[in-house]
């Protein structure tokens, strides 16, 4: 159609609407929108008299959108206007028909005929559009005919302040005991509660919402909501492109809902153009100081009318963002003003829409804009427009103009640079762009040989070489005078902070992300499991794996203390055990002695020295430790205890009695399995200069569980292989993940607080494989885990959530399965692995054909869980077998989680054939 297809649309569109060829013009326009509407209008006018509910829906929106685009172009041709009017009337009539038939609201008819099409034909495109979409909105509401919807729509638009005008209705409260007094607030604020008759219609404070039909009145309820329209697009016959175009044409100018005489306040219609007024950032409505607070409410997005909340601001007002007027300062206190201005600047709706900026002829995507704005050296005061960007050297400028600044190079934004990007005519090319005269001048002054129309490569550090040659010819910024020349020619110079690409990458990860970006980028993973399932190990692994400083100084201190007090606790349990064993042996002795006594009649000297006896010094220490533990004050004696008792510990540990007790540790139920790891290192750990190793931290209990919930935010570091292709993968480095770890207990009884995690992207459920033969008070731990899994999976909050099951502690499991059969757990009673020793020999050529018992069993358990999951949800469970103590294993499973998330994001983009292909791949993954 045109030579440069990338932006041919924009160029082509400007022309055609002026031509009077209506059907032709519309399809060609960039905003495909009119096409869609025109096509669907034809059948519509045929079915004009049919008050059918369904068919109405799409046409409404077509027309609305069409109108919007038309008014946005602000040069509506007469023909178009006619056409749109024609398209409007049938729908609105039908809408009215429909409405009248369903709910008898007479007033709507008048409103429809007067406000909708008439305004439009008057050429007052702005208000016409607004009014019409009101109507449309309300009719949509009607069609859905759900009362809650209706109320919802109403609520959004009629704001709190509207009802400030209290009506003096008598209260028949004849009970003198009642001293319930709501009046004071209003009395205090008497000046707020003016009763303007003008507004009574618009702000139906006296209305009761019992009559839903009244609420649908379009004029009264100016609920223009673009977002609602978007939702409806899904069910319509609109293609993908249409949607995209719609967002492009979003700069629809919202018009204020009411307009008084010129210069007056838009709400109270008083005042003149000289009275101080505050302006809505979206619709340009102006309010006097009496009305501004009521019209703008609590200003969650800064100075916008309550009805404009959520809409993008008018671009011409971008410069005013965060700049407070005198009026607000007068009305509100400093703290309030500061909050409003902060909200105005940083709220999501007020951010620059990415598609307003196109770089090298390509509109930016959301991620690209973020990349651009968050690079070390971003373009200053980015305004909507077309820019060119030289990725190699970082030159940045407006399309068709000389460079205006030098930003961070190598950003993956926009398309490839065009030779005519800066509209140069010097025949000298820098990085594929024909430079302007001024630049050439600068190059010459900088001492660069420019004879013979050379093509240069200029790097970000200013070194340049001729195209096709290897050797660097020199540095542009090498000469002292160059920068001065640049300043003279108003050309940009590189800022001092310009960094090499490597530094920039590391910065990217550490830089804090502004709030408004956060929810678009951070993906939350919820890590849950019963206690003992190793969630904290995985959490700690993630910290060690992905954080450059896994634990802060404080945390480190705490970890040492925790580990040390744990070891004391283990020792205490051991000592307690020792006492018990000693008593038992003594009792046995006595018994046997008494037997002896009976037979012999002589009383031998009772020898209470047993293998479990300890010396008096150690005994004193043991008694003291047990006493402190019993009183629950163990935490209080740290870290003083470490200094004092370190030598004693060594002595204790080397004592034969303790060694003997330690041998019988399996009889001490209180002693956790990890205790032996620490006890064997007890002497080292309880020194004052103890430095925990990563493994110590991983093994340690209670490092993260002291709090009910722990979360860590990280991004996956790019592997070396990815680095090479980082231009394509750069968005990935932006993606951040937040791993939230909660205890089963932390969710409260019956997972009462699970609803707080509705915004997580995925649940990682952790099960300890080695739990199958473990029992707690409530039964088999594996069964308990399974039940907890069931509770979580079936929780309404997680109805559509992806689940990744981590079968943890595979290393322990592999050892255990050889000794204890899996059938020990009732749930696994039908596990009958076909293993024969002979097979090992006969099939020795392939290891894969003969998986170990551990693998078989873990696979079996995975299948068990998968069946359970799919029976509960009908979906597929992702499973990953992990050894929590091995960093690589945890890394792999978390990366797997990332892949699942990515896949879910991309899934809708594939068509059905591709989909099936990928889905098989995914299923093969999950085994």
């Amino acid at each position: 159609m045109s030579p440069a297809p990338e932006y041919s649309f924009a160029v082509e569109y400007d022309g055609p609407p002026i031509s009077y060829d209506l059907p032709r013009a519309l399809p060609i326009t960039v905003d495909n929108i009119p096409v869609a509407s025109v096509v669907s209008q034809v059948p519509l006018s045929d079915t004009l008299s049919l008050p059918v509910v369904q068919p109405l829906l799409p046409p409404h929106h077509h027309t609305v959108k069409e109108l919007k685009t038309l008014s946005s172009e602000s040069r509506v041709s007469k023909e178009l206007e006619l056409a749109s009017e024609r398209t409007v009337s049938p729908t609105s009539v039908i809408a009215f028909d429909h409405r009248a038939s369903q709910i008898n609201v007479c007033e709507l008819s008048g409103e429809l005929s007067s406000s909708g099409p008439f305004d439009l034909s008057n050429g007052n495109d702005g208000s016409g559009e607004c009014e019409f979409s009101d109507v449309c909105d309300s009719s949509r509401l009607l069609e859905e005919s759900s009362s809650s919807e209706l109320r919802g729509g109403v609520c959004r638009s009629t704001r709190s302040f509207n009802t400030m005008e209290f009506n003096a209705l008598g209260v028949s409260n004849d009970d003198e005991k009642e001293s319930f007094d709501f009046n004071e607030l209003n009395l205090n604020q008497q000046d707020w509660c003016s009763t303007e008759s003008v507004l009574s219609l618009e702000y139906p404070s006296t209305r009761v919402s019992s009559l839903k039909a009244e609420d649908c009145d379009g004029r009264r309820v100016p609920a223009v909501s673009f977002n609602v329209d978007y939702d409806d697009d899904d069910d319509g016959d609109l293609n993908e492109e249409f949607d995209v175009e719609e967002t492009v044409t979003r700069p629809v100018r919202r018009e204020p809902l009411t307009k008084g005489k010129k210069g007056s306040c838009y709400r109270c219609f008083k005042g003149n153009r000289f009275t101080d007024k505050e302006v809505c950032l979206v619709c340009d409505a102006k309010y006097c100081s009496n009305c501004v607070l009521r019209a703008m409410g609590s200003m969650p997005e800064g100075r916008k009318c309550v009805t404009c909340i959520g809409f993008p601001i008018e671009e011409s007002k971008r410069g005013n963002l965060g700049k407070c007027s005198r009026m607000l300062k007068r009305l509100l206190n400093q703290l309030e003003v500061r909050q409003i201005m902060k909200a105005e600047r940083f709220c999501e709706a007020n951010q620059l829409p990415p598609d307003y900026i196109s770089v090298n002829g390509k509109p930016l995507s959301y991620e690209e804009l973020i990349t651009l704005q968050n690079c070390t050296n971003p373009p200053k005061k980015l305004k909507p427009g077309n820019y060119w960007y030289d990725k190699v050297s970082g030159f940045w400028g407006k399309e068709g103009q000389k460079p205006s600044s030098i930003i961070s190079p190598h950003l993956n934004v926009g398309g490839p640079i065009q030779p005519d990007a800066s509209n140069g005519n010097t025949q000298v090319f820098v990085n594929g762009r024909e430079i302007t005269k001024v630049e050439l001048r600068m190059l010459q002054l900088a001492g660069v040989q420019c004879a013979g129309n050379p093509h240069f490569w200029v790097n970000e550090d200013g070194s340049y070489q001729e195209e096709g040659q290897k050797n660097t010819r020199g540095y542009i910024w090498g000469k002292a005078g160059t920068k001065l020349v640049c300043a003279f020619l108003s050309l940009p110079v590189p800022s001092k902070s310009s960094n090499s690409i490597g530094e920039q990458h590391s910065n990217m990860a550490s830089r804090s992300i502004p709030d408004y970006l956060e929810h678009g980028i951070v993906q939350k993973l919820l890590l849950v499991g019963c206690s003992g399932s190793g969630t904290s190990t995985i959490f700690k692994q993630a910290k060690i794996l992905y954080k450059s400083i896994p634990f802060s100084e404080d945390e480190h201190e705490n970890i040492i203390l925790t580990i040390q007090s744990n070891v004391y606790t283990y020792l205490g349990i051991l000592l307690e055990g020792r006492e018990r064993f000693e008593d038992e042996i003594l009792a046995d002795l006595k018994k046997s002695q008494s037997c002896v006594l009976d037979t012999t009649g002589t009383s031998p000297k009772p020898d209470d020295k047993t293998i479990y006896s300890i010396g008096p010094r150690l005994k004193a220490f043991s008694d003291w430790l047990l006493k402190t533990m019993a009183s629950g004050k163990l935490d209080a004696i740290f870290p003083a205890a470490t200094r004092e008792y370190a030598p004693l510990i060594e002595e204790l540990w080397n004592d034969a009695a303790i060694k003997a007790t330690y041998e019988r540790r399996s009889e001490l139920e209180m002693l956790p399995s990890v205790a032996s790891y620490f006890l064997e290192r007890a002497v080292k750990i309880l020194r004052t200069d103890y430095e925990p190793s990563d493994l110590d931290i991983l093994y340690a209990e209670g490092v993260t569980s002291s709090n009910g919930l722990a979360c860590v935010e990280f991004s996956f570091p790019q592997a070396a292989s990815e680095e090479t292709m980082d231009t394509t993968d750069q968005h990935d480095s932006l993606a951040r993940y937040q791993l939230i770890r909660v205890h089963a207990r932390g969710l409260g009884e019956n997972c009462k607080w699970l609803e707080m995690f509705e915004d997580v992207e995925m649940v990682i459920f952790c099960v300890s494989l080695s739990d199958y033969d473990q029992f707690s008070v409530d039964g088999n731990k594996m069964i308990l885990s399974m039940k907890f899994f069931e509770t979580i999976v079936t929780h309404p909050t997680f109805e559509h959530m992806e689940f990744l099951l981590i079968l943890n502690k595979f290393d322990l499991f592999e050892e255990k399965i050889e000794q204890v059969p899996l059938t020990k757990c009732d749930w696994f009673s039908d596990f009958h692995p076909i293993t024969s020793r002979n097979r090992t020999n006969s099939n020795s050529n392939s290891i894969n054909n003969n998986p170990s018992l551990g693998h078989l069993a873990s696979h079996y358990i995975a299948v068990k869980f998968k069946r359970l999951y799919s029976s509960l949800t009908g979906r597929k469970l992702y499973v990953s077998v992990v050894k929590g103590l091995e960093p690589g294993s945890v890394d792999a499973s978390l990366k797997y989680a990332k892949e699942i998330l990515k896949w879910n994001e991309e899934k809708p983009n594939f068509n059905s054939s591709e989909y099936s292909m990928y889905s098989t791949e995914a299923s093969s993954f999950s085994h």
Binding site: F166, M299, G708, R745
Partner: protein, 378 residues
């Protein structure tokens, strides 16, 4: 003593306790000749009536981007602090409906917040099991965030509820998922006393809500997932003064009656109840009017009007009933009024002077309701 013997004795003891409890219940029932509404009716009381426009939503506080979970009013000025799942505490000026502070929390999963009696600081707690105190007057850091001025850590479960001891900026009581309540000394950051727990006659499940007696700040009640409410004396931490049975579901909300001799509860079983702390009797049940087929909607939060005549109760379906406490009649449903919330009402609170009610909802907004009519002075 062998394990089996111990187990037997335990079973026997449990049975005895249950029997005694049952007998106590029977005894209470026999003593309970009437409830409040019955008596009030017999005295010829007529219910409070409200026109549909008598209570109006007069402010909408917009600014949170997540579900609002908790709110609290200051005692003197008309300020509100609210906690939301977006991980922020916002301090509002209720009159202008503007924010004065927006505090980004280190842990986003916040469940409760409270204003100190002087209005100088706010406290909040949540799933991180820590109660954090923010001093509103302290300077902000570079990003404009307030730093935590004190962390009260020691709970082993989430902090579900916190309230300052009236008139004392340095003392605070929290209720937690670890089945205990704790009285804190904020200046030292240490626990003054722990109520309940392993060895004491405390709650047997998560504590969800606490309320301190407004007339005698030594007493407070706690409501718990064990479907009981317990009365505590802060001077005697060892055991609960009284345990109130009656509810058939988690007690989500407890609130002292303004006179300090009664308290109200709201529960998962869909009822609100009124208990007398002196006799231990249940005075009245407020059953949610519903059809038989419907599931009862959970009561999330309750509040009394200044006189105690009205009880406001928020429900999970977005209703907010105004009960006449005397006659146990629903006077008004704020959820059916114009401008009402679009989601579950999660918290509500009355301003200190009783002039306005603030409701917080999962629709991310807070709304302030005030009396719209002119009272007839009798």
């Amino acid at each position: 003593m062998s394990v089996t013997e111990l187990k037997e004795r335990h079973i026997a003891a449990t049975e005895t306790v249950n029997n005694l409890r049952e007998r106590l219940k029977q005894r209470r029932l026999s003593l309970l000749d009437t409830d409040i509404s019955g008596y009030a009716k017999s005295q010829g009381r007529t219910p409070v009536t409200f026109g549909p426009t008598d209570i109006l939503c007069c402010r909408t506080l917009q600014g949170h981007t997540g579900k609002v979970y908790s709110l609290d009013w200051t005692s003197e000025k008309n300020r509100i602090v609210s906690a939301s799942q977006d991980g922020r505490l916002i301090v509002w000026n209720a009159l202008t409906s503007q924010k004065t502070h927006a505090i980004k929390l280190p842990c986003a999963w916040v469940m409760t917040c409270a204003f100190s009696p002087t209005g100088q600081s706010v406290a909040c707690g949540g799933l991180d099991s820590v109660c954090s105190i923010f001093n509103l007057n302290s300077p902000t850091d570079r990003d404009g965030n307030l730093n935590v001025s004190r962390m009260l850590s020691g709970h082993k479960g989430y902090v579900s509820s916190c309230q300052y001891v009236p008139g004392e900026d340095t003392h605070l009581i929290t209720g937690s998922g670890d089945q205990t309540c704790v009285l804190w000394d904020i200046t030292t950051g240490l626990r003054t006393s722990v109520f309940g727990g392993e060895f004491q006659s405390g709650h047997t499940a998560d504590v969800l809500s606490i309320s301190i007696n407004g007339t005698n700040s030594k007493m407070f009640v706690s409501g718990s997932c064990d479907s009981t409410a317990r009365l505590w004396d802060t001077r005697v931490a060892s055991r609960a003064v009284r345990t109130f049975h009656g509810h058939e579901g988690d007690v989500n909300s407890v609130k002292f009656f303004p006179d300090g001799n009664r308290f109200g509860t709201g529960s998962d079983d869909g009822t609100c109840r009124l208990f007398d702390i002196r006799t231990g009797h249940q005075l009245q049940v407020y059953y949610q009017p519903r059809r038989d087929t419907e599931m009862a909607h959970v009561v999330t939060s309750i509040a009394f009007s200044i006189s105690g005549r009205l009880l406001f109760a928020g429900y999970t379906n977005g209703d907010c009933y105004v009960w006449d406490t005397l006659l146990a009649k629903v006077v008004l449903n704020l959820g059916s009024l114009q401008n009402s919330h679009e989601g579950r009402i999660s918290c509500l609170g009355l301003s200190a002077d009783g002039s306005a009610l603030c409701t917080g909802s999962w629709d991310t907004n807070l709304k302030i309701w005030a009396f719209g009519g002119i009272r007839k002075v009798i």
